[in-house]
């Protein structure tokens, strides 16, 4: 963690921001939370509060962005889900039509905790190899127990390694973003004058597929794709 604030100072900034929120001074509250984030004192709680403040201010795009970031960092929580639901209910866009089936690997990654997977793999992998060495060092009559444990460790390490590879792949290839602009035009080509295909509005969660110049190709949950200006979206 950054050493800009001591823990006590960070807590003080946090509480002051909370107090500002309580007296409905949302601008001051937002400034406090963003100060913490910019100095490396973030985390899911600060992001949640920032998202809630944005939501109270009516900035739907940044509210969803902060809440989604809080969800990504800290996982699900009842208050987080509730406020996200409120934000979704306020969204202008209602994506209709057949929802494109999300790919298998992203779904697997979403259903598992990448950190847990990574540490599980690392632990079992190293331990299994350590036991292999021990197995070599032991006399043939004393190798059975070590061999069984080693096999079990490998049985955990191999699938968790595959899962870890899934997470790494999703991390590298799947990029989700939130629309920040009140209205964002998606075009057929990455050119300002290209034909408009559809419009999306603040708070909508989209998938970023590729980037060209100042345009990104976005995909809606129902599979609709188009080129939009990069500034109009923010990656989660």
């Amino acid at each position: 963690m950054s050493g800009y604030y001591t823990p006590e100072e960070a807590q003080d900034v946090f509480l002051k921001a909370n107090e500002a929120y309580a007296r409905e001074d949302y601008a001051a509250a937002q400034a406090g939370y963003e100060k913490l984030l910019s100095h490396g004192h973030g985390g899911p709680d600060v992001l949640y509060n920032l998202g809630t403040t944005h939501l109270a201010r009516g900035d739907l795009g940044r509210a969803v962005l902060a809440l989604e970031q809080a969800k990504k960092q800290g996982g699900r929580a009842p208050d987080l889900e509730a406020n996200l639901a409120v934000a979704r209910a306020r969204q202008v866009d209602k994506v209709v039509g057949a929802t494109a089936e999300e790919e298998f690997l992203p779904r697997v990654a979403a259903a598992t905790d990448g950190n847990v997977v990574a540490w599980t793999f690392l632990g079992t992998w190293v331990a299994a190899f350590a036991l292999v060495l021990l197995w070599r060092a032991l006399r043939p009559g004393r190798r059975t127990a070590v061999g069984i444990i080693t096999a079990l460790l490998f049985a955990v390490a191999v699938p968790s390694g595959l899962l870890l590879a899934t997470h790494a792949w999703v991390e590298e290839t799947v990029h989700e973003a939130v629309v920040l602009s009140p209205t964002l035009v998606a075009r057929e080509l990455p050119q300002p004058g290209a034909r408009s295909i559809f419009e999306v509005h603040a708070g909508l969660k989209v998938r970023l597929l590729e980037e060209t110049g100042r345009f990104v190709r976005i995909r809606l949950p129902n599979g609709l794709e188009g080129w939009a200006e990069r500034d109009g979206v923010a990656e989660i």
């Binding site: 490396g40 949640y48 509060n49 950190n115 292999v132």
Partner: protein, 620 residues
């Protein structure tokens, strides 16, 4: 055997039987009619009783009929009385009573025509009865049996405990409507003179003297000016016997509602309506019935109301305040429940709003009601639950609450109160450094409370946070990949080292042989220096050691204790040809001989020396 008194006894018995015969045998008929009241209202019923004494069985009685009267019900009863007096014969009377429940169709001085009885072709008539009828309802006469209720068999039992609700339950006395006397709908109130906010109970009954199949629809009256609560709404018809103006009915409750008038004045309740199917299967038919309308006189609350009094706060109430904890850590929420319970309109009372110092943030409350009507009175409990979030440490007080209300039974105002509550807010143990170490542990307790919603419908912000810099996933950190690859590299390294060591071991064995052979040659060279000296034994010993060393290097085994035959076998196995074997054996024999005194001849020594050198040479 003699017969005793049989003829006389039989005669006496016949005479006695004849003496007890009914009186009508001699046409002594007693026939009259009476009414139970001389003056009735046009809505009242009265009873006409026609009495025939000692009528023969085939007598035909014709009851009075008149357009001025409506017969609501009729019944017939017979009675036989036996009287014995003065030792004379028993007198038996057969008395037959016809009871008609009647109602006048108009007001005035009306005459009930006489009844008639025909006995053996002869007609007897009673006297007509005159009755005075006034418009409206005069009420039941004291002598009217039955009244609106069945006789209470326990009425004469003394000292029954007083019923706390006795003064609140007023039994309805319905009026049989003209034309629909067999089946009618009746709305009734348990009282019609109340205060604003006091409960009035509206009951809707079907009174029927026919079989009911079903009630197809019920339209409840419009209840403008009332707050209503359902008290009873039976799903099945269940009747009870009731006597209405002397006429037995089965009464079926359709609905019962509690009405709380919200404004003073005379409030009207429109008639209810119902579609009812009577009879069974194909014999049934559907009828539509409309009930009576009602009026309620609603009095305003008396003057002198305490401040904060509302018209809805009528009843009998108790108030309490429950606090989840009075000592909390900063950031932890406190749940405060304001509980109002008692008799009255539970859903319309408003407990006082919880207030507190600015250091205690009080969120909008949630309200839950539990209504439990008992004996048709609405009562229950209203709980207003607040979430209080301390904003700083210290000791703070939630002030006492007061709830003024009007008690209609006592006809006086009263105030329900709670005590103030002190809450001590402490810093979290260890301050910031003691914050939970994982997000899951950090679950904000406030968020686990239900219905914690701000005005905008949002969950509140979190009051505790674990600050952390944005971090990369573990697999992107620098150490991760090396640690993953390290075991593989280590295993590979071990395998390589093992292979190298194996190869090195093989190679060193050969080298050691060469080294030994080299040492043996050097030793032979040393022995050559001793060849010319006087110490013959040392020369031969040195040559022997040199040869032994060479043989050990080549054979890979010690040769010190081997016999000549074994040595020959080993050399053969090691690939030494016969000439080399014979030279070795010659040198060893010569050395044995020279060490123990022989071989002093220099030529001999040279020969041994040459033979040893030849044995070593060329044996790689």
């Amino acid at each position: 055997m003699r017969r005793t008194g049989s003829a006389r006894g039989a005669l006496l018995a016949v005479l006695a039987l004849l003496a007890t015969a009914p009186a009508w045998a001699n046409d002594d008929l007693d026939f009259y009619q009476t009414v139970d009241r001389q003056e009735v209202g046009s809505d009242d019923t009265f009873r006409l009783t026609v009495v025939v004494v000692d009528a023969p069985p085939n007598a035909q009685v014709q009851l009075p009929e008149s357009e001025d009267f409506e017969v609501l019900s009729s019944s017939r009863s017979s009675q036989r009385s036996i009287s014995l007096s003065g030792g004379g014969p028993a007198v038996i009377q057969d008395i037959t009573r016809y009871v008609l429940v009647m109602r006048a169709n108009r007001a005035g001085r009306l005459k009930i025509p006489p009844s008639q009885i025909t006995v053996r072709g002869k007609t007897y008539r009673t006297q007509p009865v005159e009755i005075s009828v006034r418009t409206g309802r005069l009420g039941s006469s004291a002598g009217q049996p039955g009244g609106s209720r069945l006789p209470d068999p326990f009425a004469s039992m003394p000292s029954q405990p007083p019923d706390p609700f006795a003064d609140e339950l007023e039994e309805d006395e319905p009026t049989i409507p003209r034309g629909d006397s067999d089946l009618f709908l009746r709305s009734s109130l348990d009282r019609d003179d109340v205060f604003v906010g006091e409960q009035v109970t509206l009951s809707l009954y079907i009174y029927s003297r026919v079989d009911l199949s079903s009630v197809d629809s019920v339209t409840m009256p419009k209840l403008e000016g009332f707050w209503t609560e359902e008290v009873e709404s039976p799903t099945q018809l269940s009747g009870e016997q009731r006597i209405v103006d002397g006429v037995p009915y089965r009464a079926y409750l359709l609905r019962r509602r509690a009405l709380f008038p919200v404004k003073p004045g005379t409030l009207s309740i429109t008639p209810a309506e119902a579609d009812i199917t009577t009879g069974f299967l194909f014999a049934g038919h559907r009828v539509h019935r409309v009930s009576n309308g009602l009026k309620v006189k609603v009095k305003p609350l008396p003057p002198g109301a305490p401040p904060g009094m509302s018209n809805a706060h009528v009843g009998s109430w108790r108030m309490s305040m429950e606090v989840s904890q009075t000592r909390v850590e900063l950031g932890q929420p406190v749940t405060v429940k304001v509980i109002l319970e008692g008799v009255g309109n539970v859903k319309n009372v408003t407990p006082p709003k919880l207030t507190g110092p600015a250091a205690l943030k009080i969120y909008d409350p949630t309200t839950t009601d539990k209504v439990t009507p008992q004996r048709n009175r609405v009562q229950g409990r209203r709980v207003v639950e607040y979430l209080v979030m301390p904003q700083r440490t210290g000791t703070f007080t939630l002030p006492a609450l007061e709830f003024p209300f009007f008690d209609p039974r006592a006809r006086a105002y009263d105030v329900a109160r709670t005590d103030p509550v002190t809450i001590t807010v402490e810093a979290g143990a260890g301050g910031v450094s003691a914050l939970p170490s994982s997000p899951s542990q950090m679950a904000d307790a406030a968020n686990e409370q239900k219905n914690v919603l701000t005005a905008g419908g949002l969950r509140p912000v979190r009051y505790q946070a674990r600050f952390e810099a944005p971090s990369e996933p573990p697999w992107k950190r620098g150490f991760f990949l090396p640690v993953v690859l390290a075991p593989l590299g280590l295993l590979l390294g071990v395998a390589l080292i093992g292979g190298v060591r194996g190869k090195l071991a093989t190679r060193s064995e050969a080298d050691r042989g060469r080294q030994q052979a080299k040492a043996a040659r050097r030793r032979l060279a040393e022995a050559e220096k001793l060849q010319g000296g006087s110490n013959v034994g040392a020369f031969y010993a040195e040559v022997e050691k040199a040869l032994h060393g060479f043989l050990e290097a080549r054979l890979g085994m010690p040769v010190g204790g081997l016999t000549r035959d074994v040595l020959t076998e080993r050399m053969t196995a090691a690939g030494a040809d016969a000439e080399r074997r014979s030279r070795v054996l010659f040198v060893l024999e010569a050395c044995d001989l020279g060490r123990y005194g022989g071989g002093g001849n220099p030529a001999e020594r040279q020969k041994v020396m040459d033979a040893a050198a030849a044995a070593m040479e060329g044996w790689a």
